[in-house]
Point group: C2
Chain length 387, copies 2
């Protein structure tokens, strides 16, 4: 595992070396509370996805010190959060047979970790390894609710029942799970609400099928940030997963999941030049700091490499990171903007609200925690990476 | 600094947990030799850029144990390579005034580190800080050779001479530097050769101007992988920089800098499913493993998220990572391909040749070194990240 070496202890964003990752903790808390409030309307368990955070400190903040069920995207996340005391973990990416020994090791430590499968080959591997180890691995069947990424379509009844049967021969059929990732690009609240129904119904249809075949299917798990926030009726669903809601980002603004003011994550950068041929500013945050993610390019409003704010986190209207090289960002007004470009002195600091929080955060090894519009640094929290 | 915890010692790629970064060391050596040979036709100093490698082991391999001049993109790189014994470092991104104390600290350690500037404000900062510290900071003027990213156009003679004058009042005017990044998208060998002339002439024009104004301008520094490999005449240039040539990638294939067989870097992944609705394979390498870089999207042939090879590194014709989520990759044939899709069993391993070596490597904390088509792992070399 990567270990963390504390940064030189500077007290404010003005003193901090750039580029650096900034977390507005009041916004994080507000976003978490909003999701809890949205889900409290339904009889569901909340199982937040920690793939965006990848931080033990943030997990503790999210749970206010208690232990709660979580979702992870890698076994590395499962192992780190297990070390931190979490005991109920859903590994939400189809499991490779060669990773099962790490799953058993976690089960042996008393961690209730469940895996996800969508093929007979995985079912055979999970069942055979469960038998060999004398420990039934909790297993979810992945349902394709129309994204056509992974999972099995509810209409593929024969395969679904075959897999369920195979799992129950040695592993533990814990439930069914689906994720409507296309809700990020739904375009409207009405479309998100419709997708929340699609997501729910796909999972319920498979749960009903498998129950009809004699399986208990105790858990019906769904979720994405937009559908979790806006679902009107989750009858039959037992748990909801969501991750990016903690931070939000410009893609979620485009998806109408949040407003710009809700974004808790930003990248601090320094103005290092102004090109006289283009009039654009140059900053010391390129794609190494904000990531190559251009999720908003396929939404109605393209935010290029992110929206620029002042050091206090207040957005400049229409000022974007127009382009990015490895360590250079190019800052200028959105095409067609009628705004006056703000005057930014060389050496001055700005903050960038990224396209995609998961991708931008992954480029950094720690969070610098601030509150409100203050620039004083309350804490430095390590992040981990790897698999 | 991040410290490295050795991986569980597995001996072959078949046993290695995925996703993981693989380096074909014979290809690396061959690529380095090709660049040395190309540059030996000119009377220039070679100053390789280490931003792609970010590895002390690779720097040592590149230099065969001797110390040589290098280029870096961050002060973190400068500091790590200085710790490893390198003593001649060019920091090739415009310097923020707040970073000058770290530059002085390196100079104080006996490292000859030079910075890059393109504004009167930076010149004032560099000169004032040099005087304050009693140590003239070696400084390059950045020339805009037409990329219009950073740098000053050669025609902007007044600003260029003003900055040079200001630098020489307290710092050390080491030379002029330019980089023709658009050579990656030149589209043909002839176009690259023309850009090599443009790059050279822009730097020479400014060197001549400043020499006419009484400055020595000992160093004239140019370079990008395509122009460094294909320049026909570098008369007047004293040093050449290039970085991605060590690894190459699909963007460089598109730029005609190399062939697919030259690519030394790949990402090992495991097949975790096959979606029956689309027929596409699902692998456990998403953008977290291959990066979000889609550099080939703006070239003649779009390689999506990279070209798929078998575990021995032999490419499957037209098989691409068509799409990527955080930890999912979607693998299928290129649109319009007449090939038969290869049969890939769930659990089998593949390797991906990425769009952009710099971005893909940055997602990993170590290289697994292999030779030729063998799958035995010769060594594990740590990478570092951060600023």
């Amino acid at each position: 595992m990567l270990t963390f070496d504390p940064l030189p202890s500077v007290m404010t964003l003005e003193e901090l070396q750039t580029p650096s990752l900034i977390l507005s903790i009041d916004k994080f808390d507000r976003n978490v509370e909003q999701m809890r409030s949205a889900l409290s309307r339904h009889s569901v368990q909340f199982r937040p996805h920690l793939k965006t955070a990848k931080s033990v400190d943030l997990a503790m903040r999210l749970f206010k010190g208690t232990s709660m069920p979580v979702t992870v995207s890698t076994l590395k996340e499962a192992e780190v959060f297990a070390d931190a005391g979490l005991r109920d973990i859903f590994y939400g990416v189809g499991v490779a047979p060669s990773k099962l020994p790490r799953v058993i090791k976690l089960l042996d430590r008393g961690v209730d970790i469940a895996v996800l499968i969508d093929s007979i080959e995985q079912a055979e591997a999970v069942t055979a390894y469960s038998r060999e180890q004398g420990k039934p691995i909790p297993t979810f069947l992945e349902v394709d609710c129309g994204d056509h990424r992974s999972g099995i379509l509810p209409t593929n009844q024969q395969l679904l029942t075959q897999i369920a049967k195979k799992v129950s021969e040695g592993a533990e059929l814990r439930g069914v799970a689906t994720h409507c990732g296309r809700s990020y690009w739904a375009g409207s609240l009405t479309a998100i609400q419709q997708l929340a129904i699609t997501e729910r119904d796909a999972a319920l249809q498979v749960a009903k099928l498998l129950r009809g075949a004699g399986h208990a299917v105790p858990v019906v798990s769904v979720g994405s940030t937009p559908t979790a926030l806006h679902a009107k009726d989750l009858s039959g669903v037992t748990e909801v997963r969501a991750g990016v809601f903690m931070f939000f980002d410009m893609v979620q603004v485009g998806a109408e999941s949040c407003s710009v003011d809700d974004i808790a994550l930003s990248i601090l950068a320094t103005v290092i030049g102004k090109n006289s041929a283009t009039g654009h500013y140059i900053i010391d945050a390129g794609w190494m700091a904000v990531s190559r993610d251009r999720g908003t390019a396929s939404q109605n409003i393209d935010q290029k490499y992110g929206l620029v704010c002042d050091v206090n986190g207040r957005p400049f209207k229409d000022l974007l990171v127009l382009d990015a090289n490895q360590e250079h960002g190019i800052v200028g007004l959105r095409e067609g903007s009628m705004e006056d470009e703000p005057e930014l002195a060389i050496g001055s600091k700005i903050r960038i609200l990224p396209n995609h929080a998961c991708a931008a955060a992954a480029q950094h090894d720690c969070y610098h925690v601030v509150t409100g519009n203050a620039t004083s640094i309350d804490a430095v929290w390590p992040r981990f990476s790897g698999w």
